[in-house]
Amino acid sequence: MAAADARAAAIDAFARRHRFRALEAVPWLLALAAYGVFPGYLPLGAQILATILFVLSADLVLGYAGIVTLGHAAFFGTGAYTAGLLAANGWGEPLSGLVAAALIAGLVGFLSGLIILRTTGLALLMQTLVVATTLYEAANKAGRWTGGDDGLSGMVVWPIFGVFRFDMFGRAAYTYSLAVLFLGWLLARQIVHSPFGRSLTGARENTARMHAIGAPVAQRRLIIYTISAGLAGVSGALIAQTTSFVGLTSLSLERSGNALIMLIIGGVGRLYGAFIGVPLFMIAQDRFSKADPVYWYFWLGLLMVAVVIFARGGVLGIFERLWKWPGK
């Protein structure tokens, strides 16, 4: 009898795990409240929101599929340059720019994934880095189109829906980024709770067993890599459109690395790590790095070492240990 109860409870838990919980509304309520409370920080807020989408996309491959990447900026930058080049060459419509960025970045993700996902572990890690560096160098050398070191400028972004103009206070940028992030989050949430998403986690935990039960592991890893690349591309396009600028740093190792840092600060493989890690990191960066970039790097480095040694799950991991997090 007890066994049957436990079984029913387990089935129930599985059936419920994808339902929305009240706690999940908190980030969105906070984001809406921030719009009213900090009107002077909306441009920074818009960047934070877009970066959350980027880190969320990294969480999909890293946290769920277990693909450790040092080159996720490749897709962010591809998306940024796609949207940027469109807007600089006479097509400033933002929504189609986002779609184009998602498609091109997804294509780059698909093609590079075809090549590099054949390896795992250290070899894969190095190859993600090589892909991103190749693109960085390509953008650097194609200065005639990308502006090279100086960055791409001269973007003219049209109003959203032809109505909402990007203003200097960042009101449109903030709302726009929030809406796109919300859609991206819905998609990511749908993916990780789907059978497809569960099979990714299965492959991460025990690849041999997933092969044994007949799951097409390689194909699924490629699919999630492509989707994640597309989302990262949207994030890059968002920042390009809201700041009207694309620089080489959008493809840099630093950006890939920072995404990892923000993710680990928040918590990897938890879907909400990005929502905690990104604001913490970017607000701290905004505060401290301008005053003294050298010391900012020192403390950042020390923090990373400390997180890896003492707080593996990031902020969310600490909460989980304090009280059992629902659904984990």
Partner: protein, 290 residues
């Protein structure tokens, strides 16, 4: 025709010098990755440290070149031991994400630390007077310092390979790379082996950083700036191999020099693209095991 030949000679010479520096720095990284299963992105920090110690000793305290070079290698090896014991060891064979973040953190700290200690400017290395100028090899003359670099690197490579083949320590490393558990079972103290190998690899990196100070400029962002080069050498050579990185370094050193000579507008792009193609053909590198 003579011009092309001279260009090829010159590219071969400078490429070889670059390859020696790349190999000395990267061989330790390859062993750390293959033997301990650890992605040490911060490996370049040791090379940078070697460069700073050497230029500092020479420029500030007037220590002779060879002594400064030896001290740079020794100091780097000594610094690496406590790092290995306290930090790295916990993460051997662990999750790559942890290793990446830990070593990225170390890189950031090294950037800040180097700026604090030595300032943001590039450290210049003046070759000693007996290595200044050109050396005449009969058919043409070459810069003396680079010739010394190639000679030095060549001798070290031979010593390293002979040591790996002929000494007990080398045999232990080979055994541990081939089959770690079996090596432990037959009584090899792998913890001590790891420490010594790590120190040796770091020392060589320090030596490479010092020797190559005029090729890879010593600046605070050294470890980040040249990381991709070191990683590519290991990726192309194959993890855990000692010979692989040598051929990879030769290939990259010479190809990089050639591309920069003939197609300066494209810079390092070709190297990265070529690496991609190579890895497409052999995902585990030239000498790596699948």
């Amino acid at each position: 025709m003579g011009g092309t030949l001279a260009a090829i000679l010159s590219i071969g010479f400078h490429g070889l010098a670059f390859a020696m520096v790349l190999y000395l720095i990267s061989v330790g990284l390859s062993v750390t990755m293959g033997l301990m299963g650890f992605v040490n992105l911060a490996h370049g920090v040791f090379a940078m440290l070697g460069g700073y110690v050497m230029t500092g000793l020479m420029n500030r305290y007037g220590v002779p070149f060879l002594a400064a070079l030896a001290l740079a290698a020794i100091a780097t090896a000594l610094v690496s031991i406590p790092l290995e014991r306290l930090l790295y060891r916990r993460f051997y064979g662990g999750e790559e994400l942890d290793q990446v973040l830990l070593t990225m953190g170390l890189i950031f700290m090294s950037v800040a630390g180097a700026t604090y200690l030595w300032g943001p400017l590039t450290q210049h290395m003046e070759p000693p007077h007996w290595l200044a100028g050109q050396v005449d090899l009969g058919f043409r003359s070459f810069p003396a310092y680079r010739s010394f670099l190639i000679l030095c690197g060549g001798l070290l490579v031979i010593a390293l390979w002979l040591g790996l083949e002929r000494t007990r320590f080398g045999a232990q490393i080979r055994a541990a790379v081939d089959n770690l558990r079996m090596a432990q079972s037959v009584g090899i103290n792998t913890s001590r082996l790891f420490m010594l190998t790590f120190a040796l690899g770091s020392g060589l990196a320090g030596l490479g950083g010092g020797l190559g100070a005029d090729l890879l400029a010593i600046t605070p962002s050294y470890a980040l700036q040249y990381l991709v080069y070191f990683i590519i050498v290991v990726a192309v050579g194959g993890l855990g191999s000692i010979r692989g990185p040598f051929f990879a370094a030769l290939f990259i050193g010479i190809a990089d020099t050639a591309f920069k000579y003939w197609l300066p507008g494209l810079g390092a792009f070709f190297i990265y693209a070529l690496t991609m193609v190579l890895l497409l053909w052999r995902p585990q590198g030239l000498f790596g095991r699948a």
